[in-house]
């Protein structure tokens, strides 16, 4: 199979993200936001209890 946008995308597989410079940093940001969500929700649970 050939043709289509995925061909032109092949060279872009290792392209950096538009923000945060590396994918690793962006992944840490997503994980960090999850941790922030969990802590915020835990504090909400404690406050409302």
């Amino acid at each position: 199979m050939s043709g289509g946008p995925a061909d032109s995308a092949r060279s872009g597989i290792e392209a950096p993200p538009p923000v945060m410079r590396t994918w690793g940093r962006l992944y840490w940001l997503v994980a960090g936001l999850l941790a922030f969500d969990v802590v915020a929700m835990w504090l909400l649970t404690r406050w409302a209890a």
């Binding site: 289509g4 597989i13 992944y27 969500d37 969990v38 929700m41 909400l44």
Partner: protein, 563 residues
Amino acid sequence: MSLAALDWLVLIGTIATIVLYGAWRSRGMRDVNSFVRGDALKWPTIGLSIMATQASAITFISTPGQGFSDGMRFVQFYFGLPLAMIVISAVFVPVYYRLNVRTAYEYLEHRFDVRVRLFGGLLFLIGRGLGTGITIYAPAIILSQILGWPLHPTIWAMGLVVVVYTVLGGSRAVSITQKQQMIVMLSGLAVAAVVVIVRLPRGVSVGDAVSVAGALGRMNVVSFDLDFSSRYNFWSGITGGFFLALSYFGTDQSQVQRYLSGSSVTESRLGLLFNGIFKVPMQLLILFIGVMVFVFYIFTRPPMHFDQPTMAQVAAGHGAEVAALEARHDRAFAERRDAALAFIAARGTAEQPAARARLVDAEHGFTAVHDDAKALIKRALPGAETRDTDFVFLSFVLEHLPVGLVGLLIAVILCAAMSAIASGLISLGATTVVDFYLRLRQALGRPPASPRHDLRASQIATIAWAAVAIGFASLASLFANLIEAVNILGSIFYGPILGLFVVALFIRWVTATPALVGAVVAQLLIFGLLAASKLAFLWYNVIGCAAVVVVSLVMQVFWEKPR
């Protein structure tokens, strides 16, 4: 209950605008690739499309009801999702792009052989085919019961509208309409959140409402207790939720097709990470709306049972018992309302613990009447469903939202249904044609057909699956507990499919035959567990995946030499 003319106008206008815009933007399909992939979409469209695919109508009907009855702990079920998005973005997406695949199962042939590809594709077709039928049936049955719409025409209308734009516009139409649908859904949610807060009694602030909800166990958002008997806690969410999300987003064609529509790896990855960031807050908001509806009904008299059509049937034959229950319900409501107001007045004072105890007692009294109402339904109508949580949010919308906004919220539910149905249908059509029809032609040595022929085959396969799903949805009322049955069916197939992909991606020295045997054995094991054990069905995902890995490793060691 019927809709006002303005609600109909908003409802039909919203749906028609989205469908026509999607069809117009996606005109000009040339071949099967443009039908299956959609091509060249940017990350906001991909991200919203991924979210819309997962958010079925049940999300907007049942989840607020879950917040209402069980509190917010269900949000923990989604804690594994952002981590799964990271793994799929880092591992799955580059592989799919590098091999230029159109379906997830095409990758299995690249990695193993055609037998494994067909087996994976077959498991997907069975599970998703049944699931799409229920995606049509579940909202139709609730809308028909509450709004009095005829069930079968509702099913057919929903299915037909979706199949028209899906077949005419392909994956691009699905993604573009999902983007608009998701915008409508998020707007509707925001409106519902504002209305329920504004409708709280004068003098009751959001802080007071949250405090009352907390006293009555509805603000149980996060629990770090390692309790295996508890369905939702941090640990089950971060592990079980991770496996489920990895399987669903990484190997289910209805999701894989969404992010393979990206114009580049970067766009696909960003779309997935967008979902990873916003999914948990979105679910939190939906559950919070349910909790605020719960508090709203502490101060505004709720129906004794939210499934009012069923309650009316009971009243027809047991009028005196229903009247007696209604009188108890009135007293219990007044006692709980007064206790809640006293609790709010006592916040921050020495009287707070006593006021809290009184409120909790009043809640027990209120719940006892509701339980008695359910027992009466069970006695009067032995086959009827006694749970009413699925009716809570729609009842609130219909009875307490202003005219016009009711139409918007019904549009939200229909948009959610249509977006999930469209993803299901187009993924079924794509898998049927790409993994079976075109592959079979190739195996038989037939020359490649024209692009138009392949496009037609894809469209016909999608229509055929729509007919299957609509037919299944039309027959669904013949079966009891069908929704639960199909949820179990989904979990039966997800584990072995995920296991195949885990072996393919992470255990490079396992070859085709051990992997295939591992998947078949795992599938049989799950069938055996289903027949002979009372194991909670969510565990099938983990056990099925683990069984494929273990059996294929053992097979590889004993029957085939490692590569």
